[in-house]
Symmetry: C2
């Protein structure tokens, strides 16, 4: 007789933790740094707080003289918004629980990164996680907790309230089996690349060997935070339409269109309803199942909808991108460009591209740095859409660039939903719309480089005469 | 004030369906075929039933003359074990519900493939799925159902019992938005490759253009079904150890070791307990948290455990692999090899490799066909471990092979847990243990080919004299 089992989301990712980037001690240490730092930076940026992020990794007590892999304690502290005491246990102790399930750009999107780090720490060291948080700088709550993995629910071991004395933010302290020897290079790359696209952040990192690195703020300018937006008609499937209609407070479909969709005004609403053969006074709740499908298909086919604007997005912008490049790369020359907002499957996105040459950049040949919603992507380059565009669609010879030209190309995709191919956010799928914007952005910066190089080349010739 | 939300597993994969291989109509049609056919073959093989699988894709009523993408109806029927009526709704209407969460080889492992196909069909066409199943050939139950995506639970619209008149098995009929024009090549490749590794199956495929293809059984020999196994000590983390101890019926740790772990007898148990400094009469339930961590680490470090045997695995075996190659490829020469059972992180696996040359194989140069637990992997070749081994570690010139030699290399990895990197099972991570077995298996078949080619070459020379 066949035995059926149901498993919880945490049980699923406990068993399949490689899907989330926790495949071994070296990778898990890297992923833990990533997930916690990204939570901290999201929290600061959403409230336009100049980020102060502190990260410390030390050998756990009793493991100091052991070889890798071994137990490490990691502390990540920020000056962000903090988390309400009531929400802390589930925010960190439940998979698929979070505040980022919205149509608004953020590094977080799955509701599980912080929880996975805690889960991995727990299954390798059996130690609880300590989380302190204050939302007002007056009081802070400290939790000692673990996760009931089979039930996907937090287990609170201790909870106490204390004076915050002005500190507002979040501090996470957990122990996990890591391999610092194998992951240190990637961890330092992660911080350096993060500093590149977040030059308004102060980041301090202390490693297990006692090395302290300050990534010092290079500008006080922060990007405008994104604003939550209405869905774009092109992103609507039948399930989404059903739900929007169920929540509709009542009134004709012409009003429903204007109040439910991004950038749909009365005129476009009426023109669309004419196109799709639905009378404007129709009650959306009266649409039959068949009508619903036709309505959804018409939303996709109608060509009169305005493209998304970028209000739900938060690109770096030229000033910030330039500040980061100057601060981290010190090139002889650089150029940045940003594409207009575009969309894939109704999800808005903006591509920003930067190219830096010479100066302190001394590796031979071109190096690609990829970013998505300000997250540095350091794995699976060969599978990523940016790599594909660079290697298949850019003919370097056209731009007076050869195998040895010291170049760093930076691609940044920001979206309300970055088309990651994996839960571990390793690389980005090659959506044709995204590919197109990348191609044009990359060509643009190479053209600018070519102009610079030819000007330098002709000045050289002048001087030699 | 920050608003927190919890989402269900189906809601998560509804929003992130590209993670599961349902990114667009062309890919979703392919994934639906894959997921349903794999469920059928799993069901037959587990009970050593010679598989009869019928697949039909037709334009949905009203869509016959429309261009792609459009609505298609797909029917998949098998003669497998059938599903108990009580279990049908959750098996297909709940994500993370299934019968394959066990230490035993199967194509299924995540408990969500069938459910995703139904979910995708529902959100694109709003039509319910019809599922019929009989476990005894006497009565069959037919369900008309949909999924409550927000709650991750089935919605039963109709249920009826009827005479089965001897038919035992499962039949799934659903409607989805697909793009047959774009996915037909991949779908036919999927069937051809499935027939290659499942030559004991009769598979019938009728496509929307009315084309009928029979993949006819080439052998009545079936692989021995896998047997569920105890976990191997090397795969145990602290959470797993805790659970096993919680379920332990009572008795000393020496007995616990023998009854809980794969291939651990009294002698090895005592030797391990001596190594880890735990007295054999210790009650496992009395171990402190600290002791538990030490115990788990010792399980990893102790070198005296026997490697896993292959009883929980079900490789094709030479006879079946050869039958498939002959039937589907008709080569001039072929060779197959199987490696001894090995393990990565305590999970047993076996690598089988086949190489076919000439005859009806007429493409120029080497083509790689990848399989895992008999599933053909047709995407993301460049990211897969087999591709990495072939391109980085095999020097083709050593084997008298050049750019034009018509060759097909087949790699098959079977495991209780195939290290897929994605939920869509597209490609396999490069675990060093798996890489090693692949490397040796691939070299083995190339050596055999080289012997053949030199024999043929010298016979040619003889003839010319
Ligand atoms: N440092 C922090 N400051 C403020 N809020 C935080 C912090 N860390 C976590 N949170 C809250 O906890 C929630 C869950 O975090 P978690 O990392 O598990 O998921 P996420 O960030 O929403 O998505 P992702 O899995 O993509 O990272 C977040 O949505 C956020 O509301
Ligand atoms: N054709 C079938 N015959 C018998 N049982 C089936 C069939 N299709 C599905 N099932 C049952 O339904 C369960 C759920 O199927 P589903 O495809 O969603 O998950 P899975 O096969 O367990 O894992 P995966 O997501 O990796 O495919 C299976 O575990 C199996 O018990
Ligand atoms: Mg997060
Ligand atoms: Mg399945």
């Amino acid at each position: 007789k066949t035995v059926f089992t149901e498993i919880s989301p945490s049980e699923f990712f406990y068993r399949n933790r490689d899907l989330a980037g926790f495949s071994n001690p070296s990778r898990a240490l890297y992923s833990t740094v990533r997930e916690l730092v990204e939570n901290s930076l999201d929290s600061c940026e959403l409230y336009t707080i100049l980020p102060e992020v502190y990260v410390r990794i030390t050998a756990a007590r009793g493991s100091e003289d052991k070889p890798d892999p071994k137990h490490y304690e990691i502390v990540v502290m920020d000056n962000g918004s903090g988390i309400e005491g009531e929400q802390v246990p589930k925010a960190f102790g439940r998979i698929f629980y979070g505040s980022k399930y919205r149509l608004r750009q953020a590094r977080g999107m799955f509701g599980m990164g912080g929880t996975m780090s805690i889960l991995y720490g727990q299954i390798t060291t059996n130690k609880p996680v300590e989380i302190s948080s204050s939302v007002d700088g007056v009081k802070f709550e400290k939790f000692l907790m673990m996760i009931d993995i089979e039930k996907n629910t937090p287990i609170i071991l201790e909870r106490q309230k204390s004076e915050a004395n002005g500190w507002r933010g979040t501090r996470v302290r957990l122990t996990l089996e890591g391999d610092y020897f194998r992951s240190s290079t990637k961890i330092f790359d992660y911080f350096k690349n993060t500093a590149l696209v977040t030059p308004y952040a102060n980041i301090t990192f202390i490693d297990p060997l006692g090395k302290l690195v300050h990534y010092t703020r290079g500008t006080n300018v922060m990007p405008d935070p994104p604003k939550e937006t209405l869905p774009h008609p092109h992103g609507i499937d039948v399930e989404a339409a059903k739900r929007m209609i169920r929540l509709w407070k009542g009134g004709p479909i012409s009003k429903f269109m204007v109040q439910s969709f991004h950038r749909v005004g009365d005129k476009i609403a009426l023109d669309f309803l004419k196109y799709s053969g639905i009378p404007p006074e129709t009650d959306p709740k009266s649409l039959s199942n068949e009508d619903l499908v036709k309505f959804t298909e018409a939303l996709h086919d109608y060509e009169g909808f305005l493209p998304p604007d970028g209000k739900c997005l938060s690109p770096m912008g030229e000033e910030i991108f330039s500040a980061g490049i100057v601060k981290e790369l010190s090139p002889e020359f650089f150029t940045v460009t940003a594409r207009e907002p575009a969309a894939y499957s109704g999800f808005p996105f903006i591509v920003e591209v930067g190219l830096a040459y010479g100066g302190k950049i001394n590796q031979q040949g071109i190096k690609l740095l990829r970013f998505a919603n300000r997250i540095p992507l350091l794995y699976d380059e060969g599978s990523d859409v940016s790599w594909k565009v660079l290697s298949d669609e850019i003919d370097l010879k056209r731009y007076r660039v050869d195998q040895d030209t010291p170049l760093i190309l930076m691609t940044h995709i920001c979206s309300t939903k970055v088309p990651f191919k994996t839960v571990g956010k390793e690389y980005i799928a090659d959506r044709p719309e995204v590919e197109k914007e990348l191609r044009n952005g990359i060509r643009e910066v190479f053209r600018k480089l070519q102009i610079y190089l030819s000007r330098v080349g002709s000045m050289e010739k002048q001087r030699k005469k």
